[in-house]
Subunit: 829 residues, 2 copies
């Protein structure tokens, strides 16, 4: 059992390392040559560009303004300045809502911590149980334990306090959860209805189109929707795919399990698209060189760059002579330009060839409708008699689509789910063994046993504290690095259709894993590692007891874990060490043009699949220890506050948003906090029954029942906002749009929205940009004041306020006209 | 432990009683004076009427045709004769699919029984374990046990047989389940699309219409749907309700929990509708008297019936003079006719008054659409931003609507569900105690202990057998009589909207109850009643073991249960003793006119809420004992076969269909068989692990996992056929109808379909008939040959075959035209 001194040492180490990280960050971030590492978001948004042509060289590389060094923690208040609506515009709803998780942590734990310290700590502290136990049986107990429930004697009437507090904490947590659910649901609906015209609003993804001997998939889709949605169907986009059915047909066992599109099929994609992909790559490289020479020529317009080129008559594409040593001298710019043209043609041919190949057509399509109403209807209804055919659902954003999984038939999905379920079960169970053994090794006794020669070193008080306070956390951390990748692969195999849903599923798995292996694993391996085998056979009634007893004993372990993972880890996050080093390495060795530099940036993204479950672990720890060891709560609060600031900064300045799911993850977040709540209640129940508080313990049974009921109530009340799209909203939006823009031609707008990236990405990078620009045409680009480079942007309220409020006014006018002059709405409809 | 002799005695008793019941039934059913008891279905269908005017009086009352007494079991093959499609037309899909449950029992258990007797019985029997145990420790074991798994020694390699058999049984059961699910789903869709035009196809029930200060519910509904479903909305019917809001407002605590409409509200309904209801009653009675006098007059046209009437000037409605002693003599027929007219006017006024009262309007409405497509869309989508407002779902059939529950707000529903959940938990748990004590009392030892003076009587071998074989079953049975009523009240309180869903929910509860109290209760109270308390605290790992050990010991108990409840009970069902007696009592004392006689009939109905869970108990017993004590299987098979014949007969001749849900209960049936399968697997697993078959037992763990996966697969594959209505079907049906009947005016057809029974039923009984006739206009009434009264009807294939095949042809033509001349569908749409 670690003492307060151990905790203090650990805290000192972690605070120090966090401080070092922050200091390093503060210095590095204001150096102009790191600008693309610490502010990539602004580059991606096009609001900032390399200032390579202005000022002295030194000033471009190193910041010489010493005043800025003094205000080295300035970024923190600045990160908090941007108001939420602007943040949503800037970084998307997903990011803004993600930050609310931290905020929710604060909202839950600050009042709980106050209450716990005001009530529970005095109640616990004014007992002598541990002191007596120490005297009688020589049990060591730290001062922390004196503040915890362990200090209350058996059968004490004081346990009533803990029960009342458990109710109070549950009530408060549920209250915050409900408010947040409401808020996020309304934010989501607001976001969906306030955002401009976007292809996914009109589009439905149709899967499992049945095979038809007479018609192609495309024809079949068109006919089906013309018949069944006659007034609403507009157009569709079938999704081509490189799938050699012949070669799959030779493996009937595989194809019947539908593994073709993923297992074999994916290999074949590479096979068939090999030529196309290599051509695209070649073209890209040529283009880069062209840019480079163009730049060179621009700087020195007098000298046209020349180079020796080996003209090869056999091949259309000539090769630059080896190291430019032989071959004919040509004008490089002209040469490259003509070669790029040639390549473009070839790529076009190849693409046509692939498109015409009937084997590459997937039985799935993106069907677009004339109105949002039509799309909402189609997405929410069943189309065909056989519920496994003609499956419809809202199309994800174009950038969110996970193309590889669009063609998996129902039976295969079902089998995959079973396989992954079993695989995950074994992964979770057997992962426990290495963690446990490493943690046992990392304890003082473990090291002394394995390496007796280290004994003198270890026995030094400081090192002992380090080992006890630091190593178990690190050991745990190391094990968790490779896990997200495995879980992501599992989710992909399971057949989800969008990157956001892949991440959500991975997050769920990761959370289960963390609970079982990190939380229960740490609680029980430390306290009862040898009993692991017997624990599996333990009674359902005994498990909460075992956990309840072990919980107070592991408080110090979790405090160090919070400090290592939560404090120092978050500080490490803001420093972005890995992207920093990689960027500079790339910059030195690879970057030739501005485009290369753009690509060398690695802004990263939020990483919902790992980030969110880790936050949830803190919720779990906070809720479990709130009644048991309130001493832990301040550590949690510091984590939430610090992480909130850091991630707000990162979201504003660094992370690149990969997709926008409109906060579709919130029901998961809500559900996990509920899980944590129930676990905390059961653990307390178990602990109470071992404390022989027979009178009071039964009063706790109602808590989990009420909590689960509350969860179901919330799901019924708010979940559909995250799954369905109300027709009223769709109709209002349609009406509004028709009134504002009656002559808009939707068909060409939607024509190319959903194209497989191989066809799109290959052609030209500019096209990509065109498309993404097209997507953004309606969403107002927020011009912020961020032209100077040394500060995070101050919010520009004027530009923001104008556009949405205008649309709000419009909307309310239309709404009013619909609801008051009810005879007159025929005009709109 | 009961021996084979006990079983034989019990079997003899039960077979005898079943035989007596059947004999009584065979004699009673062919007596003309019982015709309305045993063939009410035909009277209700209007295909049979009282033959009161033809033949001699004796022949009208007693059947003197002695040949018909010889063929006294003739009804059995006759019940089987009617083919399924005709049965569906005759008694509805619900009944036809209900019969398939018995058939499924046969399909599952006949092959299983063969396999078990061919493989498991020899394997079990060729061991000496029980013989040795008998010699060594004086354990008594019957011959039945020698056929069971108990006879296999510990650690035997023979257990592999049982495991392989468990897999085989599971596989076979799942196969049958899947086939049946497929079949029933396609029958349902066939039924829904083959049936004629019905109001519920076009109608959606809208609940939780938000209050609006400016508009009435009716206006609000109209505007909302005109705006949000502009092309499809046709009309609507708001549901009035007698709810005094003012008086509820004085009980805010009650109204906030939404108990008003049920608790307080219902009382108020009675209050406000008192006058209307009493007027309606009075009119009905007058009408009956009028019919009576009319009849009298018809028989004796010379004498116009006169009666003394006390003319009361104060009241509009004069009273017949007390016993006809004073007052003026008037022509009774004229008098009653004029009074009925007066009453009709009054009722009309009162009804108008109630309708105009704004307080009686419920925030719910039946909204009708122009097409089935429009209704299907509205029922499957979310309408408003707030998912607890404007809730839409398919309207139940008009006769299936449960009006009292239409106005419950979301929050209240949620709270009610919690309350009922908790209440049901306690009901289930505490019901166990009386059952257990009565069963203990009913055992030989129990009786001897409580009433030692009975000892000499009990010890007589025959009586002992009776007590052991009969009493426990009876005790169980008695306890279960009042339960369905309680469960039905619970479901009503929970707020379901249709009678069919009320019954489904009650059935689910009843099934859980039966499993916990009858199955587990019987298994564990007999074997371990004293350990009940300790059992609750038992480990999750130990519970299957305890059950597994107890299962083979209770085989004889369940065999007697099957015979009492299954064999004799079913034979009692066909005799219809209670309706028989009641009918004749009513006939003697109350019946005056033909109408009264009609009302004296009590055909009853299938009673899904109690019947189905009881069948499921047999599935559970069969599956659990298939591997353990195959001796039980023949008893189960006899039950299923016998019950199938009896209920087929009852459905054809007796039961009146109260509603038609289109076999919406099948997913429940499927799910319960799966539950039984999983329980049987866990019990076997527990049993195996006590048999120290450590090598083989782990192989069973995969079984429940696979079974549950299979269940989820089936639900995904077929459940939506029972919940949603595919748009393709709707569109096809719409197109077909538009082609066949282009000038049909839907609005008047739908106008009065959904009227609260107080308004409808009160006006005139004829109106009811009109309505139900209107509903049936499109569904072809099947004229069968049943005009002679002595036999059940022979199926008339010609009349049946014509109409559906015609519509099938039509449909296929339209289908073909849609799919081949695809350009030409504009004509239909």
């Amino acid at each position: 059992m670690a003492t307060v001194v151990d905790i203090a040492v650990s805290a000192a180490i972690n605070i120090l390392s966090a401080f070092i990280f922050l200091l390093a960050f503060a210095i590095l971030r204001i150096q102009p040559f790191n600008d693309r590492v610490y502010f990539p978001k602004w580059y991606l948004k096009g609001l900032r560009s390399s200032a390579s042509h202005s000022g002295a060289f030194v000033r471009r590389v190193v910041n010489l303004d010493f005043r800025s060094y003094i205000r080295f923690l300035n970024w923190m208040p600045e990160a908090l300045k941007m108001p939420e609506p602007e943040l949503i515009d800037h970084a998307g709803l997903d990011s803004a809502v993600y930050l609310r998780i931290y905020l929710m942590g604060l909202k839950i734990f600050v009042p709980i911590a106050f209450l716990a310290w005001a009530v529970l700590v005095p109640v616990n502290y004014t007992n002598d149980t541990l002191k007596i136990a120490q005297l009688v049986s020589n049990v060591t107990a730290s001062d922390i334990d004196k503040l915890s429930i362990s200090n209350v004697p058996l059968k004490s009437q004081r346990f009533w306090t803990h029960i009342v507090m458990a109710y109070a904490f549950t009530f408060w947590t549920c209250r915050v959860l409900l408010k947040e659910y409401e808020k996020v649901a309304s934010m989501r609906l607001q976001f969906l209805s306030a955002e401009g015209r976007r292809p996914d609003q009109f589009t439905v993804l149709v899967r499992n189109v049945p095979p038809d001997p007479d018609e192609s998939v495309s024809e079949l889709v068109e006919h089906f929707f013309l018949v069944n949605h006659p007034h609403h169907y507009l157009t569709h986009q079938d999704t081509s795919y490189f799938l050699d059915k012949l070669s799959v047909a030779t493996h009937p066992s595989v194809s019947s399990f539908g593994l073709n599109s993923k297992g074999l099929g994916k290999g074949l994609v590479v096979c068939n698209a090999n030529k196309l992909a290599s051509l695209v790559k070649k073209k890209k490289s040529k283009k880069n060189w062209l840019d480079y020479y163009q730049l060179k020529y621009d700087r020195n317009p007098l000298q046209r760059p020349l180079k020796k080129v080996l003209l090869n008559i056999q091949s259309d594409i000539s090769q630059t002579g080896f190291l430019g040593l032989w071959g004919e001298k040509v004008d490089v710019i002209d040469h490259h330009t003509s070669e790029i043209e040639k390549l473009s043609e070839e790529i076009e041919e190849e693409r046509e060839r692939v498109l015409k190949d009937p084997k590459s057509i997937m039985p799935a399509a993106f069907v677009s409708f004339k109105t949002r109403w039509g799309a909402a209807v189609c997405a929410q209804t069943q189309q065909s008699r056989n519920p496994t055919l003609w499956l419809t659902e809202w199309a994800p954003e174009p950038r969110d689509v996970y193309w590889e999984n669009l063609a998996i038939p129902y039976m295969s999905l079902s089998v995959r789910r079973l396989i992954i379920g079993v695989a995950f079960f074994f992964l979770t169970i057997f992962f426990m063994i290495p963690i446990a053994s490493v943690q046992a090794l990392a304890s003082i006794e473990g090291i002394e046993k394995r390496a007796p020669f280290l004994k003198p070193v270890i026995e030094i008080k400081f090192i002992k504290s380090v080992i006890q306070g630091f190593l178990p956390g690190i050991a745990l951390k190391l094990f968790l690095i490779f896990l997200p990748t495995i879980l992501m692969i599992m989710s992909k195999f399971e057949g989800f259709l969008s990157i956001s849903s892949l991440e959500r599923r991975s997050a769920t798995r990761y959370y289960i894993f963390l609970i079982i292996n990190v939380f229960f694993g740490s609680i029980l391996t430390g306290a009862a590692f040898e009993q692991l085998n017997s624990f599996i056979k333990q009674s359902a009634n005994e498990i909460p007891k075992t956990i309840g007893v072990a919980v107070p004993l592991k408080a110090t372990f979790f405090i160090t874990y919070i400090m290592v993972d939560g404090w120092a880890g978050i500080a490490g996050e803001v420093l972005m060490l890995k992207p920093l080093i990689l960027y500079h390495l790339k910059n030195i060795f690879l970057v030739k043009t501005e485009k290369d530099r753009e690509e060398a940036m690695d802004p990263g993204s939020l990483g919902f699949n790992t980030g969110e479950p880790r936050i949830q672990l803190y919720f779990l720890l906070g809720l479990v220890y709130a009644t048991v060891t309130p001493f832990l709560l301040p550590f949690i609060i510091i984590f939430f506050a610090f992480a909130y600031v850091v991630f707000r900064h990162q979201i504003i300045n660094v992370y690149n948003q990969e997709y926008e799911s409109g906060a579709a993850f919130w029901p998961d977040v809500h559900g996990r906090v509920i899980t944590a709540l129930v676990i905390s209640q059961l653990a307390l129940l178990g602990l109470m029954s071992t404390k022989e508080a027979a009178q009071s313990a039964p009063f706790l049974i109602a808590l989990p029942v009420l909590t689960i009921w509350f969860h179901r109530f919330c799901q019924g009340r708010h979940k559909s906002a995250f799954v369905k799209y109300p027709l009223q909203e769709a109709m209002m939006k349609d009406t509004l749009e028709r009134a504002r823009d009656p002559n808009f031609n939707l068909k060409p707008y939607l024509q190319d929205a959903y194209i497989h990236p191989v066809f799109k990405g290959g052609d030209d990078d500019d096209e990509d940009d065109d498309l993404s620009k097209k997507l953004e045409t309606d969403s107002v680009l927020v011009p912020t004041k961020r032209q100077s480079r040394k500060n995070t942007p101050a919010p520009s309220r004027i530009s923001k306020a104008s556009s949405p409020s205008l649309s709000e006014i419009n909307e309310s006018i239309v709404k009013a006209s619909i609801y008051s002059n009810r005879r007159g709405f025929g005009f709109y409809l």
